[in-house]
Each structure stands twice: as structure tokens, then as C-alpha cells.
């Protein structure tokens, strides 16, 4: 599988081995971001790095497992409930007159959003490269849901992210 090296700048100590082992000099850049044009994906740098700062990322992802409709129907129903809860928690926080309630509701809104992201990830939206994600972006770009909708963002995403499935 084709892959490329990506350096995690938070872990990198910026002083060492990947620069020496890279056969094409892709790791030696001024901004510390590995040069994707040069990188051949050989993986030497990742093996040499003492800080575990380099990951080899696949260039193409295999298509997602298809999801059963009954599962996604139940998941989307739960997602709607979570979304409603998140909205309520935010509203209660906004109107709260005590600091305790404000913080509790802010925490809940965050928590509920995280849980909902997991539900949706498992409902066919794991990969931004998936046919589902592309179909959604295309619909948004073609029929913007409102005049304020940032259509340009959706269009740019369609351009930046390749689709790894036949679009459905």
C-alpha cells in the first residue's frame, strides 16, 4: 500500500536521525513538515526516530465496511436525541445564573457532542474519503441549505479529498 511519512511536531525534538536516514532528503525542510513531493514512503525515518514522532500514513484508505440500514436507522435516531440534548445543555448554560450550573451544562454539551461524533463516525462517516461523506458534501455544494452556507468550504473539500469508493 502506498504511504507517506508525517512528523508530529509536538513529539519531535528537531535534532536528529530522520534527516540522516532519509534517502531523498524529504525530512530536511525548513518548516519541519516532511516534503510529500519528495517522500517515497520507504519508512526509514519512522524506524529511526527515537521519539516515535513519525507515522507512516496510507495514501489511500480501503473502503469502509457497509453498514446495515437497521443499525444506521437506530443510530441516527440516537444521534437526533443527542443533538437535542446538546442544544438544551448549551441553552441552559447560557441562561444559568449560577457558576456551577453554567460549568455543568457546558461540560455536558461538550461530552454529548463527543459521544455523538462517535455515533456518527460508526454510522458510515468514519472516513472523509468515503462515498457517504462525498455524497453529503456534493449535496451541500449543489443545494446550499441557506444563503449563509459556506459553499466554498464544501467545494474545496470535494477538491482536496479524493473519494475512495464509487459514489453512491
Amino acid at each position: 500500500m502506498k504511504q507517506r511519512a508525517v512528523r508530529n511536531l509536538r513529539l519531535c525534538t528537531k535534532d536528529c536521525l530522520c534527516l540522516y536516514v532519509c534517502p531523498v532528503g524529504a525530512a530536511d525542510t525548513e518548516n519541519s513538515i516532511i516534503d510529500t513531493e519528495k517522500c517515497t514512503g520507504c519508512g526509514m525515518c519512522a524506524q529511526a526516530c527515537p521519539s516515535g514522532a513519525i507515522s507512516m500514513v496510507p495514501e489511500e484508505y480501503p473502503p469502509q465496511q457497509p453498514k446495515a440500514e437497521k443499525v444506521t436507522a437506530a443510530a441516527f435516531a440516537l444521534a437526533e436525541s443527542k443533538a437535542r440534548q446538546e442544544t438544551m445543555a448549551r441553552q441552559i448554560a447560557e441562561n444559568a445564573d449560577s457558576d456551577g450550573l453554567y460549568r455543568l451544562m457546558t461540560a455536558m454539551a461538550k461530552s454529548i457532542r463527543l459521544v455523538n461524533e462517535d455515533i456518527l463516525r460508526e454510522s458510515g462517516y468514519m472516513l472523509p474519503q468515503s462515498g457517504n461523506a462525498h455524497a453529503l458534501l456534493r449535496r451541500m455544494a449543489e443545494e446550499p441549505p441557506s444563503a449563509q452556507f459556506p459553499s466554498e468550504a464544501a467545494k474545496r473539500l470535494l477538491k482536496l479529498i479524493p473519494c475512495n469508493e464509487k459514489e453512491g
Binding site: 446495515a68 436507522a73 443533538a83 456518527l120
Partner: protein, 214 residues
């Protein structure tokens, strides 16, 4: 008899503790994760809990996702991009997520009581239904998120119970922490060493700040 915390698995052993579980005060909370007494189940029942929920077939129109769900869907894809080190793409998905968040209509009757009801409803029917559908299809990914999601929802339920019983007294002079990986909420001066739900270390917890005084 032993009682197990449905959030973190802490066991209250009546024999070892030398007192009955039922005798604990209602404000008693799990010493590990802070879940309410109501989140504990007798040990046997915990193992048998798996009875499948009666499936209800929802006529869910996928085209009609609400703005709130679309917002979470886009912020989920932003995370997906982040994990692939695609920063520009991640920022664009967040822009879409923000748009949908701003398009969410206000809930007219928002209040802690209503919120508590919805949370309880997820535990009573939302998760059991999703779990039984996923089990029938052998969908392990969905079963896994049910396990985490249910535990986190349990802690939210506990916190709502406490809030409604005690008001915000239990939140004064202490901090509220959210696990940025699974959403577990912890009340205490410091975050737990490991998240009781997803086991990530303390630094993955985010402190919830109070209102910034204008």
C-alpha cells in the same frame, strides 16, 4: 451481595464493607468515578443485563438530518481529517460544523428536567435498541461505541440526579473535567489518573472554565 458501578466497574462488596448497599445515603457516589448510587447494579444483574430490546423500526429519512446532527457529523469528519494530519481539510469541516451549529433552532422548553428525561430515554431505549440491532448484524464497531457511549450517558444521568437532588452545592469549590476522548465527566479538584471509561491519561482531560467575567 456485590454492587457494580455501571460506569467504571467499581465493586461495592457488602461483606467487605460490613454494611448493606441499601443503607448508603442517597448522596453517596462511586469512589472511583463519582457516579450516583442509582448507577450501581447488583453484580448478577450486571451480567444478565443483555436481554435484547424489542426492535422498533424507525422510519428514519436519511435526507432529513437535523442541523444539530449535521454539525456533529461535520465535526466528526474534522476529527477524521486531523487524525490523517489533514489540517486544512479539518478546518474546513469545522467551518461547516459551525455553520450547522448556528442554524440549530432553540429548544423552547429547555430545562434540566427535560434534559434529564432525554438522557434517561437514551439509556432506557436508545442504546438497548441500537445495541440489539448491532448485535443482530454482528456490527462490532457499533457495539463498541455503545459500550463507551452508554457509560458516559450513565455518568451524565448521575450528574443530573445529583444536581436535581442537591443543587449546585456539589460543584462549588471544585472543578469539572471532560475527557476529550470519550466525553466522561469528572467532578473533583484534579482529573483522574486514568479515564474510568476509556483509560486515557489525565492530560487528555479538559477543565471546564467558568463564565469569563465581562
Amino acid at each position: 451481595m456485590k454492587y457494580v458501578c455501571s460506569v467504571c466497574g467499581y465493586i461495592f462488596d457488602e461483606v467487605k464493607e460490613g454494611k448493606p448497599f441499601s443503607g448508603l445515603p442517597e448522596v453517596w457516589a462511586c469512589p472511583w468515578c463519582g457516579a450516583a448510587k442509582a448507577a450501581f447494579v447488583p453484580e448478577k444483574a450486571a451480567a444478565e443485563k443483555q436481554e435484547p430490546a424489542a426492535p422498533v423500526y424507525l422510519d428514519e429519512d436519511m435526507e432529513q438530518l437535523s442541523p444539530g446532527v449535521l454539525s456533529a457529523l461535520c465535526s466528526n469528519l474534522a476529527r477524521g481529517c486531523e487524525k490523517q494530519y489533514k489540517d486544512e481539510e479539518s478546518a474546513l469541516f469545522l467551518q461547516l460544523a459551525d455553520f450547522f451549529a448556528s442554524a440549530v433552532p432553540a429548544v423552547p422548553d429547555a430545562g434540566t428536567e427535560k434534559l434529564a428525561e432525554l438522557i434517561e430515554c437514551d439509556l432506557k431505549s436508545g442504546y438497548p435498541l441500537l445495541r440489539s440491532e448491532a448485535a443482530a448484524e454482528g456490527d462490532r464497531g457499533t457495539l463498541r461505541i455503545c459500550t463507551w457511549g452508554e457509560k458516559v450517558t450513565n455518568i451524565l444521568n448521575s450528574l443530573m440526579l445529583r444536581y436535581r437532588a442537591e443543587g449546585d452545592a456539589f460543584l462549588q469549590n471544585t472543578q469539572i473535567w471532560v475527557c476529550t476522548v470519550c466525553g466522561f465527566i469528572y467532578v473533583g479538584s484534579n482529573p483522574p489518573e486514568l479515564c474510568p471509561v476509556c483509560k486515557v491519561p489525565a492530560w487528555k482531560f479538559e477543565k471546564v472554565e467558568g463564565r469569563t467575567s465581562a
